[in-house]
Symmetry: C2
Subunit: 229 residues, 2 copies
DNA sequence: GCGGGTAACATTGTCAACAATCGACCACCC
DNA sequence: GGGTGGTCGATTGTTGACAATGTTACCCGC
């Protein structure tokens, strides 16, 4: 769900994936921030959080340092840690950064992983169609997120993947905060993703990059329409 | 030096930048990794490191979690933390990621911050010229790094900046590991950077992106020439 | 009302001890 | 003899309590 787990064939036995508690706690906090359980700007009392998560302060602090590094929390020494707040400038920045990463991922895909990408992305896109037809907004957002996670994953670039994960969490956080006002022309959203898959399948790099840029601009406009300024 | 500090005009008084000890320790470790004091693959005994840095294990562990998140360390639970090792695939990946980030930074610069960028980048480029004429390889590498830090900084994108910082540390780590074998056609290196500044000054986005891509490819070739495979 | 001082509060940093896990080494049994 | 299983030492992971430090809010004199 969070993009780190691999897609394993069942039955294959691989080295069991063991995470440190700090990593688990970090994942939990990321989810909580993503889905708004920890609203932007809110302070994280570490004593309270520690008891609520059932761990002691040590691992919790380690986890929070990770999120600080990711930019999801910001620390004011001797005052506390706060969930990052996104203003309009941040949202713009977020989308230029996303464009930078996903554009590069697209190039890698078209050049080296086309067939695999089409297969996996089509599946994700199908989920979007199904969610849109059901009118389930949350599932549509999930599928959207999964689509972009997949896009970066099949580029087979660990660094792009790492960078994208943070950006997608921020994007989701943003969407969660605005989910009421988010108008969401569902059909347009689905179509845009379909267009991306088609361009990959056609192997047309220029078209793909143009559509991706367009997609990001549209998404940014949709968000900005909901923002105060 | 490490890219987070702002370039403040002297006399401007801003909120003092106070760092938590974890942040300081993280910076120290980053430098140590960058310059090879902690060679790739080496294990970090936390007891020893803690005493050597004069802090207790708590903040040290927090700092190391940050570096894990950055990908500079990788953790094997109950076994220890190890400095990441870069193979040929990693170096390739590193440069595609750098290209993604710096390309985007260049676009922002040409569109919004041209004059400022030319001023700051020219200064950095001048340092490269001076270092090259002196034949000082370390200073040349420093100036090179500063150039690219500046490039991303003047793009005024916090996220691009954050992503670039990690990538530049890895690049520097890579250069340090190979510094003996690195042939380094100094003149070509200097010329390429000059070409970037010129393209920015001319406002020619196409030319700039082409030159940046070329620059990355050249750098990658220089590195790959030194690598076993 | 305003500035300075003070005291309570919260958070951070530190420490020492305990539990869990791993790698190595060695005795043991088939 | 080769493999099995167990013990030992070392290191990591975790915990709770304590000290240090900065911040906030309040009170007082002017």
């Amino acid at each position: 769900m969070l993009g780190i787990e691999e897609h394993n064939h069942p039955g294959e036995l691989e080295p069991v994936q063991r995470k440190s508690t700090a990593a688990i706690v970090a994942d939990q906090l990321r989810s909580a921030i993503m889905f708004g359980s920890l609203p932007p700007g809110s302070q994280m009392g570490e004593a309270e959080l520690a008891t609520r998560l059932g761990v002691s302060r040590g691992p919790l602090r380690e986890a929070m340092q990770r999120l600080v590094q990711e930019g999801l929390l910001h620390s004011e020494p001797h005052r506390g840690l706060f969930v990052a707040t996104l203003d309009a400038a941040d949202v713009r920045d977020l989308y230029t950064a996303r464009l930078a990463v996903e554009r590069s991922a697209c190039e890698q895909i078209v050049r080296h992983h086309r067939v695999e990408a089409v297969a996996e992305l089509s599946a994700a896109q199908a989920r979007m169609v199904s969610a849109a037809s059901k009118g389930d907004r949350v599932e549509l957002t999930d599928a959207d997120q999964e689509f972009h996670e997949t896009l970066v994953r099949v580029s087979r670039s660990p660094r792009l993947q790492r960078m994208a994960q943070t950006l997608l969490v921020e994007k989701r956080m943003c969407l969660t905060a605005l989910q009421d006002k988010y108008p969401a022309d569902k059909q347009a959203l689905v179509d845009e993703h379909r267009g991306l898959v088609d361009a990959i399948e056609a192997g047309d790099e220029q078209l793909l990059l143009a559509r991706l840029t367009e997609h990001m601009n549209d998404a940014l406009d949709r968000l900005n329409g909901s923002l105060p300024r």
